[in-house]
């Protein structure tokens, strides 16, 4: 599988003031596949995402996307090579409307000054805006597109983040807890949506605590614990792995089939 690995993380280390948060972690994400990154709270998942997206720099190791090193690229350029992310603690722009937040997601696609200075606010039927609206409705977000995002319910904002990340037309989409704050029904809808969004070859890496969601969506799972890799294999095998069960799933996993979020 490493042959068609899209993203490769090799021997990555990161510490904050002496505390080793990510230790010698290596894994890869298969092209066109859907991979989950799970682990207990504080295991280093978000940190891993920050390293991949370049928000923070790593101490050592290598990150490659399609065989090309990306770890020296500044964060702003990584979206240009096809990497897009969402945030665990929702980071939408509070003063922008829903559709403007989505339009911002297209920023990396604009080619040159001409497009940078093309008015988008004046013509409501502009193609960019139309695309944004289409994506929103595909994701099942039913809100007034011109409403400011600040007052929206948690779950809605969470999904807007996902749509925003998709707008850059990435090759690799990394989502940090996209289902948090969604109810089981909405979680299932999100899962369906993500499956369709990845149907045409988009590679997906998600961090998520909702195991039902993970089982339904991802074929491959990577588990971190205290910054170290403790499992890297098919999702189906996670439940049977003793280390994972002890560190992450808890006793219930053994008894209740699904674990975590019930479904």
């Amino acid at each position: 599988m490493s042959a068609d690995a899209m993203l490769k993380v090799e021997a990555v280390n990161k510490s904050f003031g002496g505390v080793k948060v990510v230790q010698d972690v290596s894994f890869s994400v298969a092209r066109g596949g859907r991979t989950a990154l799970i682990g207990p709270n504080g295991a280093g998942k978000t940190t891993m995402f920050n390293l991949i997206s370049g928000v923070i720099g790593m101490d050592s190791g290598a990150i490659t996307l399609d065989e090309a090193r990306i770890d020296h690229l500044p964060a702003r350029k990584r979206i240009g090579v096809g990497l897009s992310r969402s945030f665990q603690n929702i980071r939408l722009m509070p003063h922008l409307s829903v559709v403007e937040n989505i339009l911002l997601g297209q920023h990396s696609r604009i080619g040159g000054l001409g497009e940078l200075f093309a008015p988008i606010g004046w013509i409501s039927s502009a193609p960019a805006r139309a695309e944004a609206m289409r994506r929103l409705s595909e994701a099942g977000v039913d809100v007034d597109p011109d409403a400011p995002v600040a007052g929206l319910p948690y779950g809605t904002r969470k999904r807007i983040e996902v749509v925003r990340a998709l707008m850059s037309q990435p090759r690799l989409l990394i989502l940090d807890e996209p289902a948090a704050g969604l109810n089981p029904r909405e979680t299932a809808d999100l899962s369906t949506f993500l499956k369709s969004a990845t149907a045409d070859g988009l590679t997906l890496l998600v961090v998520e605590h909702d195991m039902a969601f993970v089982h339904g969506l991802c074929d491959h799972t990577v588990v971190l614990n205290f910054g170290r890799l403790i499992y890297d294999g098919p999702t189906a095998g996670v439940r049977d792995d003793a280390a994972v069960r002890e560190a992450y799933l808890g006793a219930r996993a053994a008894t209740v089939g699904g674990a975590g979020r019930a479904a």
Binding site: N41, N89, Y154, G181, E186, Y248, G250, R261
Partner: protein, 237 residues
């Protein structure tokens, strides 16, 4: 009833988030409020704590009309809220955040209670003197819960406390809720984790567009076809 809500109305500009809602929470109850995105759950809890002004109705707590009181005054009467989305003070250390939790207390058990929180959430203990800004999402959630517990309220309102917690910790969280309830706290719980919420709750209320669409004993709700259809999707239950 410890908490009685009568015809509560909450508006955000033109959005009517809670519409003439009435219900109560008894002193020895766990009541859970369920509902889809935007149903008005958060608006309800915030209004109960006094963070959002109400536009109609009454809130009675322990026999006293508290509709006009400020959030700190409500807290002093024994009503506490763990807000949605990890609201911790990132410029304070973990320990200082916990100390803020006992801001309105001045009894001698503070040190013991704080130690209990550290025991319960070892992640926090290990980061006692770190700035809360560096905590992971789940750790922040733990801190928010731990801090609220320290206020020793009579009624604790939790807005999606399991958000972002690992399955293991979700389990521990629900155990904890049951435990503190046994210590004599009433609980009003908003959750997306429907099944576990209904497992520990005595009663449940399902909100929909600001109204109570379903209400009843948790056990009944769990088996309710309509709820399953609305929340769990086809073929999921």
């Amino acid at each position: 009833m410890l908490l009685e809500v009568e015809n509560l109305d909450v508006r955000h500009g033109r959005t009517h988030a809670v519409k003439a809602l009435s219900f109560g929470v008894g002193a020895d109850e766990i009541v859970t409020v369920l509902g889809s995105n935007g149903a008005g759950k958060t608006s309800l809890l915030r209004a109960l704590q006094g963070l959002t002004p109400t536009s109609g109705g009454r809130v009675v707590f322990a026999g006293e009309d508290i509709t006009k009181l400020s959030p700190p005054q409500r807290l002093r009467r024994g009503l506490a809220l763990v807000p949605e989305g990890r609201q911790i003070a990132i410029s304070l250390t973990v320990h200082e955040n916990l100390l803020m939790g006992v801001y309105c207390r001045d009894d001698g058990d503070i040190a013991r209670d704080i130690k209990r929180i550290y025991d319960r959430f070892p992640n926090l203990g290990a980061r006692r003197d770190m700035s809360a800004s560096v905590l992971s999402g789940g750790e922040q959630q733990m801190l928010a819960i731990g801090r609220a517990l320290l206020a020793r309220p009579r009624l604790m309102m939790l807005d999606e406390p399991s958000l972002g917690l690992s399955p293991l910790l979700v389990e521990r969280l629900f155990d904890l809720i049951v435990e503190i309830h046994r210590d004599g706290l009433a609980i009003l719980l908003v959750e997306q984790n429907t099944q576990m919420a209904l497992e520990i709750a005595g009663r449940g209320i399902v909100m929909e567009l600001g109204r109570a669409a379903l209400e009843g004993a948790a056990a009944d709700l769990r088996d309710d076809e309509r709820l399953a259809a609305a929340y769990l999707g086809d073929g999921h239950s």
